[in-house]
């Protein structure tokens, strides 16, 4: 009763409930569950983690840890070389899968499998394939040449390259699919007109496909770089960071410190990546929220 009265007399500061329409109250109620999850499992962990990593001594320790320097370089190689190779292949294959042929349609159904199945069994399958004694690959090399094959995962360069390969195997279908959807959205009559004018495939790509695809391609590349920073499985399940902790990337290194009960060091190694990741994240957020 009191509320109705004060509402009628329009007193300067009515209670919150009468300033909001019922729809807005429902809006807040419906948004609340996500906000709670966000506060409890994003804001709190991130702030707590930053607080744990506050001591400068952590960064001195990281600076003197050769494994950290190696992991930082490996991460950079993984991102700059690995992701760009992957995206170039995806760009190429998206053109292949955009061809209208029945057998290519069927192939694309199979092609998506690495992305659809969980990574642990498939990565472990690759790991055993390259087992020096019993793996399929060295058996094959032996039957061809009569020599023992190399101990693949025991060489840090080869092992890291293979981890990149596993990452590409797993995520290539997803990016190919995205780029293919982008290609199919290009107006078809552009290509027909170019065909009539006798354009080569390179000219068609250079002057029609690429201009319409480049924003999407760059967005995908940046997005893939951000996510690959969090790709723990490709390295951990294939090499476990070995041999001699030489193939760690930042994501596996953080978990390694965590397993060694050096939580503040784990957080500090992640904090070191923030200056590089934050601008990328901000850029992506701006792009996608439009």
């Amino acid at each position: 009763m009191a509320i109705t009265l004060s509402g009628d007399q329009s007193i300067p500061a009515p209670p919150l409930s009468s300033r909001l329409t019922p729809a807005q109250i429902w809006g807040i109620v419906l948004l609340a569950p996500y906000l709670l999850v966000f506060l409890a499992f994003v804001v709190y962990p991130v702030c707590y983690g930053l607080w744990l990593a506050r001591a400068p001594s952590n960064y001195v320790a990281l600076y003197h840890d050769p494994i950290f320097a190696r992991a930082a370089v490996n991460t950079l190689i993984f991102l700059v070389i690995g992701i760009n190779i992957k995206m170039l292949i995806a760009l190429f294959l998206s053109g292949f899968f955009a061809q209208q042929r029945t057998w290519i349609k069927w192939l694309s159904v199979v092609f998506i499998l690495p992305w659809a199945v969980p990574s642990i069994p498939t990565i472990l399958s690759v790991r055993f394939m390259f087992n020096p004694e019993w793996g399929m690959v060295n058996h094959f090399i032996f039957s061809l040449t009569g020599d023992d094959g190399p101990n693949w995962l025991n060489d840090p360069t080869v092992a890291l390259t293979m981890a990149i390969g596993v990452h590409i195997w797993k995520s290539l279908p997803f990016w190919t699919l995205i780029l293919m959807t982008g290609r199919l959205a290009i107006a078809h009559d552009l290509f027909e007109a170019a065909e009539v004018d006798g354009a080569s495939w390179w000219q068609k790509f250079r002057y029609i496909t690429w201009p319409s695809l480049q924003t999407l391609y760059i967005t995908c590349t940046l997005l893939s770089m951000i996510w690959t920073l969090g790709d723990f499985n490709s390295v951990y399940l294939l090499t476990g960071g070995g041999p001699a902790d030489l193939t760690h990337v930042l994501s596996t290194l953080g978990i390694r410190y965590l397993r060694l009960d050096q939580l503040s060091l784990a957080m500090a190694s992640i904090v070191c990546a923030i200056p590089f990741v934050l601008p990328l994240m901000y850029f992506m957020m701006k792009r996608l929220s439009r």
Partner: protein
């Protein structure tokens, strides 16, 4: 009937030259897993492309839990199933409510929440895992299924909200206005107008969340450790603890574990591709 011209044959040959390597590249690791699953141990380790005596014995061992590493197979399978289902349901509830609130009710501050959610979406998963582990410890949830469920909901919901918001922005405003004219309450609009129209996107998002949770390894292996609480992928990782791991059983269990997500993916492919790539292509 016209004979194919030389030029058509050349094009087809070039396409095959790409298609065959793509097929091999995609299938070899999966075939290798399948091969191990149907091979007796000595055949698996001898590098044959097809076993001399293909057998389903490995499956029998797994289903009868006749190995030290497999003694809790059914419990772990059940754990994976329950956690994936719970993540799917919770993500759908939270994300649908949030998307409806932001997109249809235009709640004050909705845009900010959307941006915060998108920002979360771009935090690399392995980076968030470290503080998340400690947070779950502080909440007293370690070794409890809720820790993994809540962590996966946290990871799945930003993308879910974003996709659902994009989809609901496309629904005409007139629908809501007409319903309000007819005297519908907000909840009635949500239940009778909004949910039915959003069904295809909801299927896509539900599938996305279920697959994400079922396939998750890192968070599961950090947050759960007790043998009867862990999910299947963690159990598969534990196989590697032994020097003489039974790889043929590991691959058999892995094959069984990989089947449900592959089946779900193909069953809902129509929704997945449309629902999940629509937003990404918008440029």
């Amino acid at each position: 009937m016209k004979l194919p011209s030389l030029r058509d044959v050349a094009t087809e040959a070039r396409l095959l030259l790409i298609g065959i390597p793509v097929l091999l590249w995609t299938m070899i690791p999966i075939y290798h897993m399948f091969l191990f699953a149907i091979s007796p141990k000595e055949d698996a380790f001898s590098g044959k492309l097809w076993p001399d005596h293909p057998t389903l014995h490995n499956f029998e061992i797994v289903f009868k839990q006749q190995h030290y590493f497999l003694r809790d197979f059914y419990v772990q399978f059940w754990n994976s199933l329950v956690i994936a289902a719970a993540v799917g349901v919770l993500t759908l509830v939270i994300a649908t409510a949030a998307a409806f609130s932001i997109s249809r009710l235009r709640v004050p501050g909705g845009r900010i929440v959307m941006n915060l959610a998108l920002f979360t979406y771009f935090i690399p998963a392995a980076f968030l895992a470290v503080p998340m582990y400690r947070t779950m410890g502080n909440y007293g949830l370690l070794n409890n299924h809720w820790s993994l469920i809540l962590a996966m909901v946290t990871i799945a919901s930003p993308y879910a909200i974003w996709v659902l918001k994009q989809a609901s922005d496309k629904l005409p405003v007139e629908l809501d206005e007409a319903a309000v004219m007819d005297g519908a309450t907000t909840l009635q609009i949500f239940r009778l107008v909004y949910l039915p129209l959003m069904m295809p996107s909801l299927v896509a998002i539900g599938t996305y969340a279920v697959l994400l949770a079922w396939n998750e390894y890192l968070y599961a292996f950090l947050l759960l450790s007790n043998d009867r609480e862990i999910t299947l992928p963690v159990a598969l990782g534990n196989f590697l603890a032994a020097d003489d791991s039974p790889w043929e059983l590991l691959m058999t269990t892995g094959f069984i574990y990989a089947l449900p997500p592959a089946a779900i993916y193909y069953a809902f492919r129509r929704y997945m591709v449309g629902g999940l790539t629509a937003g990404a292509v918008k440029s």
